[in-house]
């Protein structure tokens, strides 16, 4: 990766999915790898359940904490419907990581609106660099459904040239030693998808 061009990562999903924590770990990793980093989240009022997006930008010098529309190089969607909401942000050929998970918004739960179909097809049609990740399945396999965010960090690690050790050290630093094994396994599973 060239050092002078700022790289833009956009994470989207639903409050409570661990997106903000994932973005914080990411930002620390990029800083430790020697980059300038800015991170900004956009979320509404409620603690849980609302639409969340986080912008992470890194490079030799970063000004705006927000990604400009049309310039997200890497797009990580934690939830399928949320992925469709942010297509305006994608660069012409972004890397897309889609977590295979659907969480119904209130209008769908109430039966007033339908959950959109064929999201994976839409996204794979949008970019050659599309990868679908069974995050929940892999997290459960690692031992905890909540580790979806760590699985996705593993998948991100696989497409960036930053030493794996920086990732794992930063992940372990964030959690208690009790869940060390689960998180390392979740990361490994994500990395090898």
């Amino acid at each position: 990766m060239e050092n002078n061009k700022v790289k833009n990562i956009l994470l989207v999903g639903v409050g409570g999915q661990g997106i903000i924590l994932a973005s914080e770990i990411m930002a620390d990793v990029f800083m430790e790898a020697g980059f300038d980093v800015k991170k900004s989240e956009v979320h509404g009022m409620a603690q849980r359940g609302g639409s969340v997006s986080t912008h992470v930008r890194f490079g030799s010098k970063v000004f705006s904490p927000l990604i400009k529309e049309g310039e997200a190089d890497i797009f990580i969607a934690f939830e399928e419907l949320e992925a469709l909401r942010y297509l305006d942000y994608l660069s012409p050929q972004p890397t897309i990581l889609l977590n295979e998970q659907r969480l119904n918004p209130p209008s769908v739960s109430l039966g007033n609106q339908a959950y959109p179909e064929k999201i994976s097809e839409i996204l794979s049609g949008r970019s050659k660099h599309f990868k679908s990740v069974p995050g929940r399945e892999l997290a459960l396999q690692a031992g905890d459904a909540r580790a979806v965010n760590i699985v996705l960090l593993g998948a991100l690690c696989a497409i960036l040239s930053i030493p794996e050790k920086i990732w794992t050290e930063n992940i372990l630093r964030r959690f208690s030693p009790k869940v060390e094994r689960v998180n390392l396994e979740a990361f490994r599973l994500g990395r090898s998808t």
Binding site: K39, M45, R48, G50, S64, K68, E82, L110
Partner: protein, 591 residues
């Protein structure tokens, strides 16, 4: 990596602040939460912003450095002491942080608090990233003491909540020992004294205007092109991102402005832009200097800026065509959590079709369908006044049809005097205090009704029943909002009462770990017993879903679908089981 808010806290710590006060409010809340982790200073949640500022003033009058923090609308509450603090000045430095919320991410308006600096005649600094947030906090304390004035530090949501790399330092040696010094001519603002202070304020503004020319936070960066941009705060970062070749006059002090610097900058560029969020605050002052600029004719007056908007304004681009394909996506608004104690109350208010005067907090979400049970929401504490005014205007007409709702933290912030007024002026008002024992919306902060301080120390806890009684309310009932039938009976009786009455709905926030310890069981819907009547769905619980299914329900009756409960979301609050008329919702055997 620090957020802007964490950086301000660090700056205050390194500046040797002795007292820090705030009332929680997005996007400012994390400043005091972060400061409370540092030793050697008193950090508190004050009951409201006016008290916070007055406490900070007291510390500063005693010669200590004080940090006072609030969101933009909080400054409205603290405006009374602020305007006269500008006259008195102080002895120790006082920095007032106003965290503005362009785009109204979590606010009832998007007022531009730079106007307060001009109105109250105090200097204002505006950082554009976390490093500046820390540095400017330190500079603000120095300025405050040098010019004998409170200094405002303005952030916006984007600066407060973005993280960037910060180089931290060590705390400075204290500037002096706090002590009692009598100086009534300065601190007793009787007309005779205050009249003498006003010219001092005007003279101070002149001196500050001269000082602005050399203030290190105001800088010029010459670029390759003939385009000049005057900007500040987050707008600087956006402009720099999309037009790195331009020349910049970056204002770290947004009031008063460095006039000579602006004139000289303007004379050396061919085209001059002013990039600022919300009001044309800088633009109007620059225009008043007789300088021609482009500004709000290119950039929106409403909402947050972003790199795309700034680029389109600067480069005169047309609106970027949006990807039209996926517009009518199901929205995902913030909602009350599964198991939220407010849900029971609002399902009753919705069922009773009452006119609900509302207030500021999580319960404002009771506005959203399917509950749709909030009819007014304006500012902290307003629910009670609204109900009072409706009673006085409509009389008998409104009796039994109106109820006010307010949270515990909001009631203690600014509802007490309104309830006092209801009693004093004989209002037929029923108030429901939604006592969830926390300031929930901003992330669960303590307040005088929780029994804990900001630092988590145990302290006395105000008793809302005794407090209401002391104000003169004769009818006070405490209800459990998870008991729908009994709560509904109480509300029905109380709203018809032609006298002041208070209902305290007591149940801790579902997210409060300190108060909720028991392991809850989840519930499930029996697919055989569900008739598909949708009554449980009207609770608006995120754990309950509609499953479309053309088929037959109990006793072979046709149904278009049935309800289903997502067990990992269910907290076992039992509300759905209580509203189901067919006994189709039962506790599950295991979780």
């Amino acid at each position: 990596m620090l957020s802007g808010n964490e950086a301000i806290a660090r700056g205050a710590y390194e500046s040797g602040a002795k007292v820090a006060t705030a009332y929680p409010g997005t996007p400012s809340t994390e400043i005091l939460e972060s400061l409370s982790t540092y030793a050697g200073l008193h950090a508190e949640w004050s009951p409201n912003e006016k008290v916070a500022l007055e406490t900070g003033m007291g510390a500063a009058f005693g010669g200590a450095r004080a940090l006072v923090v609030m969101k933009h609308v909080g400054v409205n509450v603290a405006a009374d002491p602020l305007f006269t603090l500008s006259y008195t000045g102080l002895r120790g430095g006082l920095v007032l942080v106003t965290a503005d919320d362009p785009e109204l991410h979590s606010s009832q308006n998007e007022q531009d608090n730079r106007n307060y600096a001009k109105f109250a005649k105090v200097p204002m600094l505006e950082p554009s990233d976390s490093q500046e947030a820390k540095d400017f906090t330190e500079m603000a304390f120095d300025l405050s003491e040098k010019f004998d004035t409170p200094v405002m530090l303005r952030t916006t949501t984007r600066v407060s909540h973005s993280k960037s790399i910060v180089l931290v330092g060590e705390p400075a040696e204290p500037t002096g020992k706090p002590q009692l010094v009598k100086d009534p001519m300065k601190f007793v603002m009787l007309p005779a004294n205050a009249r003498k202070r006003h010219p001092i304020v005007e003279k101070r503004m002149e001196e500050l205007t001269r000082f602005a020319e050399t203030f290190p936070g105001n800088l010029v960066e010459w670029g390759e092109s003939k385009v000049g941009i005057i900007t500040s705060g987050i707008s600087y970062e956006y402009a720099k991102e999309v037009m790195p070749e331009a020349s910049y006059l970056k204002l770290g002090m947004v009031y008063p402005l460095p006039q000579e610097m602006i004139r000289s900058f303007a004379s050396r560029v061919e085209k001059l832009f002013i990039v600022e969020e919300l009001d044309p605050f800088i633009e109007e002052q620059v225009r008043a200097m007789g300088i021609e600029v482009a500004g709000k004719n290119l950039f929106p007056l409403c909402g947050e800026l972003n790199p795309g908007l700034v680029e389109r304004g600067l480069r005169g681009l047309l609106q970027v065509p949006k990807e039209e394909t996926y517009k009518n996506l199901p929205a995902r608004p913030p909602i009350m959590c599964p198991g939220c104690p407010h849900r029971g109350i609002f399902s009753i208010l919705s069922k009773m079709k009452l006119f609900v005067t509302g207030d500021i907090g999580c319960y404002t979400l009771g506005f959203l369908p399917p509950l749709s049970a909030i009819d007014t929401c304006v500012c902290m504490g307003a629910s009670i006044g609204h109900a009072m005014g409706l009673d006085k205007a409509l009389g008998e007409e409104a009796l039994g049809k109106v109820v006010a709702v307010i949270g515990d933290s909001t009631f203690l912030h600014s509802g007490i005097t309104s309830l006092l007024n209801v009693v004093y002026n004989k209002g037929a008002v029923t108030l429901i205090i939604l006592d969830n024992r926390t300031t929930a919306m901003t992330g669960r902060q303590d307040h005088p009704g929780t029994g804990f301080t900001l630092k988590g120390e145990e302290t006395s806890r105000v008793d809302l029943v005794k407090l209401s009684k002391a104000l003169g309310v004769k009818h006070i009932k405490v209800v459990d909002p998870y008991q729908l039938a009994s709560t509904e009976r109480v509300i029905k009786r109380e709203v018809r009462r032609p006298e002041p009455s208070v209902i305290i709905s007591r149940a801790p926030c579902i997210l409060s770990r300190r108060e909720r310890t028991e392991q809850e069981k989840s519930f499930l819907v029996s697919p055989e017993a569900c008739t598909g009547c949708r009554t449980c769905l009207r609770l608006g619980c995120p754990a309950i879903e509609w499953v479309k299914e053309n088929g037959a329900g109990p006793e072979g009756k046709k149904r278009k679908g049935r309800a289903s409960i997502e067990s990992f979301l269910c907290t076992g609050c039992t509300l759905c089981a209580q509203v189901c008329k067919f006994g189709a919702i039962k506790e599950s055997d295991g979780k």
